[in-house]
């Protein structure tokens, strides 16, 4: 069973995604703050993380630090309502980018694609190179 960590400050989004991934057979952990996520990562084995970036007033460097921290342990899909190009500009090197208005089917596809690529990523030298998505 894969574990997914959802980091989003909108409760309604969290409950929606929790529903979706529970149905798909994931173990779901949800939290409202990126800083809480760090603690959870220390305790739990997490395979993939959905990270909401709230762009206005977001501190890009802070987010990047958190990203780097998570990077080695867990695949991160950046997840917000902003266009993908904008997301890539703000947070580089995520495993995937998702626009919330793309729908749940698309989200599931992206999560699965990232998880499927995991074995390759564990090959020597490949661990640090992120898998980019279009």
């Amino acid at each position: 069973m894969k574990t997914i960590l959802i980091v989003d400050d909108e409760k309604r989004i969290r409950s929606l995604y929790t529903q979706l991934f529970s149905k798909e057979g994931f173990r779901v952990i949800a939290t409202s703050k990126a800083t809480d996520a760090n603690e959870i990562l220390l305790r739990e084995k997490v395979d993939i993380m959905l990270l909401d970036i709230n762009m206005p007033g977001v501190d890009g460097s802070e987010l990047h630090e958190v990203m780097n921290l998570f990077h080695k342990k867990v695949k991160v899909i950046v997840c917000s309502v902003y266009p993908l190009e904008d997301q890539k500009e703000i947070v580089e090197g995520a495993a995937g980018y998702y626009d919330k208005s793309q729908g749940l089917r698309e989200l599931l596809k992206k999560v699965k694609a990232v998880l499927d690529k995991e074995p390759q990523a564990k090959e020597p030298g490949g661990a640090d190179s992120p898998i980019m998505e279009g």
Partner: protein
């Protein structure tokens, strides 16, 4: 270069000013030179006339030794009827004087007081005589200098009265003006030529200067041409331009700066708005997708539809609030001001808020002085302002809390405090709560999650009344908002 350009006008102005200055300057030089030359000529004439007077006194000596009266000598001279050796002596004397005095080209006459010529040089013709008479019509005891001009002769002449043997004579010497006029003509030609050269040069240089001075204007124009909403970062360098231009450039840069600010503000705001509108839509879409995937029971469908309705309401509320804010910002005439009693107005709000606070078992208290306080304002919008603050107080205060409304007057301003015993705001967040869409927590448990526009709207309304809203808060203890309104 165009004729209506500043550059053209500037260079014409330069040239005209310079032309006036040069004309005055060269007139001074020309007439100065003329004076000096005439003065020299007059000095020469005087020397000549005095020498002639000397010769006459030499004749007088001859007369004394030989016993001839002057008239006789003169007569002899004119008739050439004197004795040979005498005439030789006189002739020699005369000729040598003419040579040493350089009198060959001069017109000489010795006349009596009636203007009758007693003795003249050979070239002293009738025409010359009438010319002299015109200028020296009557006898004068003073030395006088005149220019004798007609179409044929141009002379400078002196009339020197001398007393001779108990009678008065006038020695007149006229000398050609041509050499002096030639020099003056040359000076004139030289001056005119150099004035023309200088004027041409200055108009040329002036136009170059003007172009240089106007360069910043062109730079401003070029920059203005290139400015679009896509790039407002361009600025004109303020270092190298002249003081007057600095002002223009500075104002221009200031204008772009303000434009840039408001464009940034608008684009940030619309990005906010997009976020706030896309989130509910993403949720609606997700919920629908989720329920369509499975084979849910009718209860589940109803649940999803209720969630969708909630999100739709939320979207509508965001749009309404945004439109309201836009109207406050860009259409100040939405406010209909009238004078009313503030206490009475707040009592109504107090009664209304008791109703919705009671659902959370929260007590509302009003502390108002018993006097008439008048305020000039829009009651509808001020009501919205106070209800927004009281709704917040209710929303962020746990059950059985307290909300207080109190009114003070100080410095012809009304201070209305809305305080609660709620969760409070940390000092880090306190500076942001008036920002649009800002909410400390987005997972409030209330039935309707906020949009984060309530305080922005309240502040806009207060500002439209030339008032303000201040806030003080302690985490977990409570918050006090103070609305400041000027009295009517």
């Amino acid at each position: 270069m165009q004729f209506n350009s500043i550059r053209f006008k500037a260079s014409v102005l330069y040239s005209v000013i310079l032309a006036v200055i040069l004309t005055v300057f060269s007139s001074v030089i020309y007439f100065g030179a003329r004076n000096i030359l005439y003065h020299d000529l007059d000095e020469d004439l005087k020397i000549k006339a005095e020498e002639i007077a000397g010769i006459l006194s030499a004749y007088e000596q001859i007369q004394h030794s030989e016993g001839y009266p002057l008239a006789r000598i003169l007569q002899m001279l004119s008739n050439k009827g004197i004795s040979k050796n005498q005439s030789v002596v006189i002739d020699d004397l005369w000729k040598s004087e003419i040579k040493t005095l350089n009198l060959k080209n001069d017109y000489i006459s010795v006349a009596n007081t009636q203007g009758h010529a007693l003795l003249v040089s050979n070239n002293f013709t009738q025409k010359i005589n009438s010319l002299f008479r015109k200028q020296f019509p009557s006898f004068s005891r003073e030395v006088s200098y005149k220019s004798l001009l007609n179409d044929k002769f141009k002379l400078r002449a002196i009339a020197l009265p001398v007393s001779y043997h108990r009678s008065q004579l006038v020695i007149e010497v006229g000398t050609p003006l041509e050499p002096v006029l030639k020099i003056l003509n040359k000076i004139l030609v030289f001056i005119i030529a150099s004035v023309i050269v200088v004027l041409v040069l200055t108009s040329f240089i002036g136009s170059i200067f003007a172009r240089d001075a106007l360069k910043p204007v062109l730079a401003v124009a070029n920059l203005a041409d290139n400015i679009t909403h896509k790039d407002l970062t361009a600025r004109i360098g303020e270092q190298q331009v002249d003081a007057e231009m600095k002002h223009l450039v500075h104002s221009f840069n200031g204008m772009i700066y303000r434009l840039e600010q408001s464009f940034n503000h608008i684009s940030e705001f619309s990005s906010h708005v997009a976020h706030e509108l896309k989130t509910p839509l993403a949720i609606i879409k997700g919920e629908i997708e989720l329920v369509l995937e499975g084979d849910e029971n009718p209860e589940e469908y109803k649940n999803v539809l209720e969630k969708c309705l909630e999100e739709t309401d939320r979207t509508i509320r965001v749009i309404k609030d945004i439109l309201l804010l836009a109207r406050f910002d860009y259409k100040p005439d939405v406010f209909k001001f009238e004078k009313f009693k503030l206490i009475q107005f707040l009592e109504e709000i107090y009664e209304h808020s008791q109703v919705f606070a009671s659902s959370k078992n929260i007590e509302v208290k009003l502390d108002a002085p018993k006097k008439n306080i008048f305020v000039n304002g829009d009651r509808v919008h001020l009501r919205r302002l106070f209800l927004n603050l009281i709704t917040n107080a209710v929303k962020f205060t746990p059950r059985k809390g307290e909300i207080g409304i109190s009114i003070r007057v100080k410095d012809s301003k009304a201070y209305v405090d809305i305080s609660d015993t709620g969760e409070g705001v940390s000092s880090a967040d306190l500076s942001k709560i008036f920002n649009k869409f800002f909410r400390v927590r987005k997972d409030e448990q209330t039935a309707e999650p906020g949009t984060g526009l309530g305080l922005s709207i309240a502040l806009s309304i207060a500002k439209a009344h030339k008032g303000d809203i201040k806030v003080k808060s302690r985490l977990h203890e409570g918050t006090t908002f103070t609305v400041i309104l000027p009295l009517a």
